[in-house]
């Protein structure tokens, strides 16, 4: 398999996630789309740990750290969402505009 196939898969998944972030109004779904984008980036890292001039296992180490950070991000994101839902009684991202100037 050429490395371009894996990179193309990552690009497709990233685009799907980006479209979700831009169009979804529900904040939970925006978090889902961000997870999909992070996974697309991870595919690229792992692909370059197998293919390339200096391919080695360091790409997998990077992906391990990315997965850890993404897990922390998801937990904090859901917690912020709960706090917002308790105060505003909605998860609609359009209505979180109290910091608008």
């Amino acid at each position: 398999m050429p490395v371009t196939s894996y990179l193309a898969l990552g690009a497709v998944l990233f685009s799907i996630g980006l479209y979700g972030v831009l169009t979804k109004r529900n904040a939970v779904l925006v978090l889902f789309s961000i997870e999909l984008m992070l996974n697309a980036a991870n595919i690229n890292l792992v692909a370059f740990s197998k293919y390339g001039l200096y391919a080695n296992q360091t790409g997998q180490v990077f992906t391990l750290f990315t997965i850890t950070i993404a897990a922390a991000e998801a937990a904090v994101g859901i917690a912020i969402l709960f706090a917002l839902y308790r105060n505003r009684n909605t998860t609609n991202a359009d209505e979180f505009d109290s910091m608008k100037g």
Partner: protein, 172 residues
């Protein structure tokens, strides 16, 4: 690019179709729980992609963290907040916004694909015989031990922060 029909390419094709199909189902579904299931399916397929790339440990971590923990966390996030069913009707009302987003994402995708297929990548394959869990552990705990420890601090901070943010505020 000669398309040889090896087992790896068939497995890659099936897994990538599952991953992309899960993503598209997540975008197009109207019910929020269906979206979580589609996302979990997509993330599970990505674990299969990791197996194809000789990253077996990462595949197991992907199944544990993403299709296990994060999907359940997102399910809790959905169940503890209220969702109107007709809220996510997608195309009606915000057609201009959706169209503009689609065009922007499509342009980005075209540029990225153009760059990917024009770049001459070195066709070398790493010695995947040395890609063992033992080597990964040695790499994490010797060469990358400081980032590893920083990650543990970050996880602790995220844990405390998430608890403080999500807990019920005292009535004042």
């Amino acid at each position: 690019m000669a398309l040889s029909l090896s087992g790896e390419s068939i497995a890659f094709f099936v897994l990538s179709m599952m991953a992309i199909g899960g993503g598209i189902m997540m975008i197009n579904s109207t019910r929020v729980v269906h979206m979580v299931l589609a996302l979990a399916f997509s993330l599970l397929s990505i674990a299969g992609i990791y197996v194809l790339l000789h990253a077996e440990f990462l595949a197991v971590v992907q199944v544990l963290i993403y299709t296990g923990a994060i999907s359940i966390l997102m399910l809790f996030g959905i169940m503890l907040t209220k969702h109107k069913v007709d809220e996510e009707d997608g195309w009606s009302g915000r057609l201009g916004h959706s169209l503009l987003s689609f065009l922007g994402v499509g342009a980005l995708f075209a540029i990225v694909m153009g760059v990917i297929y024009r770049t001459p990548f070195a066709g070398k394959v790493a010695a995947t015989k040395s890609f063992t869990v033992e080597a990964l552990g040695k790499s994490v705990f010797k060469q990358y031990v400081i980032p590893f420890e920083l990650t543990s601090i970050l996880l602790l901070v995220a844990l405390v922060g998430a608890v403080i943010l999500a807990k019920k505020e005292a009535d004042s």
